[in-house]
């Protein structure tokens, strides 16, 4: 069986009196696509922000493989092998597509404190960059300035930059947000491909996509975990139906 890659123990984050993430204990298994769903304000993005080091933790621990990464800053989390894509497109708008991925790829060099050798001669970085461009299917616009690309392409680039850092674990915050149907299908296909040799933690509102690719589901509400299990288990759960799926037709089909 696959082993636990990432584990949170009573992970908590509060903003003043509000517990945005409230003692969440979860395990993520290697090689799985684990989706986190829940209504707006459930704490999904905050949870991802804690994992990625974008936000400091209020209480609880995070363990990645053998390492305790609770107090890691986001650059340390990235160096540990956890990549992250953002819900709101977060790229280098003035850079070309290639340069965007390059910046990600170069971060895997032992150090970038080199002042006199031309960056473009780092062949390993170049290879990683090309691989990332290929994976996110943007080879055709490698020299296009990111600003000038379509929204869907920017979303793909968002994932490409992360892939260029060659992470083991991917934190994907609504990768399909705002995408058209065709683009969506393409990204879902990409996620399937990535799942072959990566662990994916996915926040997504597109339920069709979630049910079609996720192997495990966690439902969050008000900062707490309502239910974790396989897709079928979650669908069958009464609590989930009441809290989240209850008024949708997904639940009706489940009964």
């Amino acid at each position: 069986m696959s082993e636990t890659v990432l584990k949170t123990v009573d992970l908590t984050r509060n903003f003043g009196a509000l517990n945005a993430v409230d003692s969440v204990s979860l395990e993520f298994l290697s090689g799985q696509i684990h989706a986190i769903i829940g209504p707006n304000g459930a704490g999904k993005t905050t949870f991802i922000n804690l994992l990625s080091g974008d936000l400091p933790v209020s209480a609880g621990r995070i363990r990645f493989k053998e390492k305790d990464i609770t107090d890691f800053t986001c650059d340390q989390v990235s160096q540990a092998g956890i990549g992250r894509s953002y819900q709101k497109t977060n790229i280098f708008p003035q850079f070309t597509c290639f340069e965007n991925c390059w910046t990600g790829a170069q971060s895997r060099e032992a150090s970038s404190m080199h002042f006199f050798r031309p960056a473009r001669r780092l062949t390993a970085v170049k290879e990683r960059t090309e691989r990332a461009l290929e994976l996110c299917k943007l080879t055709h616009c490698r020299d296009t300035v990111a600003n000038a690309m379509s929204y869907g392409e920017q979303r793909q680039l968002e994932i490409g930059m992360m892939l260029a850092t060659e992470p083991e674990l991917l934190l994907l915050d609504e990768p399909l947000a705002g995408m058209g149907i065709d683009e969506s299908l393409q990204v879902v296909e990409l996620l399937r491909e990535l799942a072959l040799d990566h662990t994916l933690i996915l926040i997504e509102h597109d339920m069709d996509a979630v049910f079609s690719i996720a192997e495990r589901l966690t439902v969050m509400e008000n900062g707490r975990v309502l239910k974790t299990g396989t897709v079928e288990e979650v669908r069958a759960s009464k609590a989930v139906q009441e809290a989240y799926l209850g008024d949708g037709h997904e639940a009706d089909q489940g009964e």
């Binding site: 990625s52 974008d54 800053t73 986001c74 650059d75 340390q76 990235s78 160096q79 992250r84 953002y86 977060n90 790229i91 280098f92 708008p93 003035q94 850079f95 340069e99 390059w102 910046t103 990600g104 170069q106 971060s107 895997r108 060099e109 970038s112 404190m113 080199h114 002042f115 006199f116 050798r117 031309p118 960056a119 473009r120 780092l122 930059m161 992360m162 850092t165």
Partner: protein
Amino acid sequence: MNVSRSVIVFLLCGVAALVVYPWVGESFYIELVMRMMIFGIFAMSLDLLIGFTGLVSFGHAAFFGLAGYILAIVTPESGPVSIWVALPLCLAGTAFAALVIGWFSVRTSGIYFIMLTLAFAQMLFYFFNENSALGGSDGIFIFYKPTIKIAGFTLLDLDNHFSFYYFVLGSLIASYLFLRVLLNSPFGQVIRGIRANEARTRALGYATFRYKLVSFVIAGTLAGFAGFLEGVHGGIMSPAHLGWHESGLVMMMVILGGMGTIYGAVFGAFAMVYLQDWFQDLTEYPLLLMGGFVIAVVLFLPHGIAGLVHQISSLLSGARSGAKDNE
């Protein structure tokens, strides 16, 4: 980070003109061109921060002036000091000051970074302004230009205006090439990432604080190099050299010249130094005209003088070679 071929041609023409100038120009203007070149180096160093790292430093003159003061302090009243002693001390001194100031400032951003760099520079200003041993507000003379000797043989005599002119020109070119190489290096890639989107740069795995600090130290040291040249050239260092007025002036050079191009900062320096002189001859209110110039550039040349040069030179080369090397 490539410069289009037409701009390179333009820059080479500029260098050729500067090489020829001492033979044809009046000595007053040769002095003025030296000042332009020194400020060109100073402004380029600030462009590394403003145009490439996204750090708007409002205290950059601190390093410029500090290096000049170090030169003044290490030059004895009895004779010249060797450049092999003076220059390393000036550079090490400014690098250290930049490390200390940067250590505190670089962790902030935006308006707070501006305030901190300004505050540190003003501290240095008042230190030199109130220090009577160093001439107080009158400043301090540098009686002798440093010597450049190897084994007793004089390589270059800086007392000779001709050779000092070429020393400054060589420094200008070397500084430009240094920054170009730096910006194409892995380090350059990271600082440009920081300017474009610092949060994402960090998320990709870079400890951005370290890169910003190193950039700050490099820029400060290069400003120190310019300050060293200014000290040699002018023969006097006064607190005004590190005041906020000077910091503002060099910032205007960068902005008017065109941020994020390096060579634009040199254009800015040339334009500002020249106009300062010209407006002074023209009217009793030179600053009024200077204000008008600044407004005109900001309104009509959004990419500064460098943007204009880029347009003109690619138009010219386009007319000549069928737009082949337009970007």
